[in-house]
Point group: C2
Amino acid sequence: MPSRPEDDDPRLGDISEGRILQAILARTAPASHTLIGPGDDAAVIAAPSGTVVATTDTLVHGPDFRLAWSSGYDLGWKAAAVNLADVAAMGARPTALLVALAVPRDLRLSFVERLADGFSDACAALAPGCGVVGGDLTVSDTLTVAVTALGDLEGRAAVTRSGARPGDAVAVAGELGHAARGLTVLFGRFRDGETPVAVDTALLADGERAALSAQLRPAPPIGLGPVAAVAGATAMMDISDGLALDARRMAEASGVTIALDGDALGDNRERALAGGEDHALLATFSDGVLPPGFRVIGTVLPRGAEALLCDGVPVDVAGWDPYRDWDSASG
Amino acid sequence: MPSRPEDDDPRLGDISEGRILQAILARTAPASHTLIGPGDDAAVIAAPSGTVVATTDTLVHGPDFRLAWSSGYDLGWKAAAVNLADVAAMGARPTALLVALAVPRDLRLSFVERLADGFSDACAALAPGCGVVGGDLTVSDTLTVAVTALGDLEGRAAVTRSGARPGDAVAVAGELGHAARGLTVLFGRFRDGETPVAVDTALLADGERAALSAQLRPAPPIGLGPVAAVAGATAMMDISDGLALDARRMAEASGVTIALDGDALGDNRERALAGGEDHALLATFSDGVLPPGFRVIGTVLPRGAEALLCDGVPVDVAGWDPYRDWDSASG
């Protein structure tokens, strides 16, 4: 991005809320389900199924991202992607995003513009037809991006995490452990927390660069959520906190045991089990025929003593809990 | 509220996300439109009209509230009320709230419990049948409550802010300037920013106490939004930033001039025009018959040189703009 003269790129605290909103809205394309878009008290979105799927997820500077590592574009993209994944995990097609921004006064307008670009591009790439229909802008010492995503079930029943039944195949679509590897790259190579990643990516190996992208601009298989629902998925969820933690949640919700096949988890089994933030789709299918994009990683058993096994052994890998893992001082 | 032993009221940073969410969910009643509530990747809410109204609004510690003045209960109540008002202003009935909390680690569990109580009680009092259907919890140095409210139009068209036509009556339901008076009371009597309001309310005059309540726990007339829509309101919005600013926005959106009657604005005209945060409903009606709860405060004229007049004179009162008015150092 070419640099801009400072007076053309003011700090947010020096300009009106109206000008900031105008800059954001100029960058967000109307979504195909939008009946009334930004500018009124509320948006109105088509819900042709007579129901609406809704989820909210927030990214906070410190625990969820760092400006030294993520550009505004990365941040907008990721905030969109993680919410779209939750809609897809119900088997729904995303229809709309609402974006609540709390921004420090000394951030520059270009940062917010690039954030809006990230939202738009993530929608276009991952969930065509979905876009930002409303939002809110306020000042805060801590940069915070709270997103709500809405979706339509297209007449289908929602796919919950509680429907897995003994005999079902356990399958996944998307990557396992890539985002976690990307985080390791960030911590290892940019430990000072100040060097912008963009400057140094030339030094990275290809695998590292892909992992970095998975961490900063995840691309979960949003379109495969509805595909799995059409194919009869019995349970589905997105893997935000790591396969071990999330598969255990599915097993507990369904009252079953999930038995994973270690060989199906790639060359770094530990990372595939523990690594969060990939937002791959975890689903179970009863008839043995998987839709394209899904691969088998295990089977569902009647509930035994353990909710989660890998190669027959209880899995003792924890996932990501921001309350336990995040240290404000180092965050 | 009786005090609790410290070990029974842990800091949020010392307990798991799961325990915090459990405490919140135990306090939020299911909403009547909820098909799938909290606990899955997303909620599913009935949208019987085939459309859904959606809005988001955030309260940030500093510019929007102070913990020295607002209890957790106040904060939950207000965060619900301001979002419910935006749904009502479209003529819709609120069906669901999603709540994204970003909380400092040193806050106590009881604070979040009372916050959840505030959400529940505001829904029960202002929008029966609406409740919290989902949310998100993360850590942040800055306490932030981002709420998304959903609503159903019950088969009616949405009432936008752009439908006011010359000859319409301009009407309002709810208070004007009360919340602003409450803020003045807070700044005047609790200037040190540390004395909890609850300790000193006995010293307040009745009018001050009511104004304080309007500021801390606003009770906008949510149910009158659908009533106005049924009665044929041509335009409607909620007054968040003061009558002067918001009536001007309605006039600009509708391409008309709004002429206010100063005598209809109460005994403190300046405060009624400038004071934000009451979330009264501003609406226009074309047939001269107002629904119960609304009072006439002016008329709609063809667009003249000025978008907003009061007693025939241009209104030169600004409303609330957090980018201009908020000072982080004193916030």
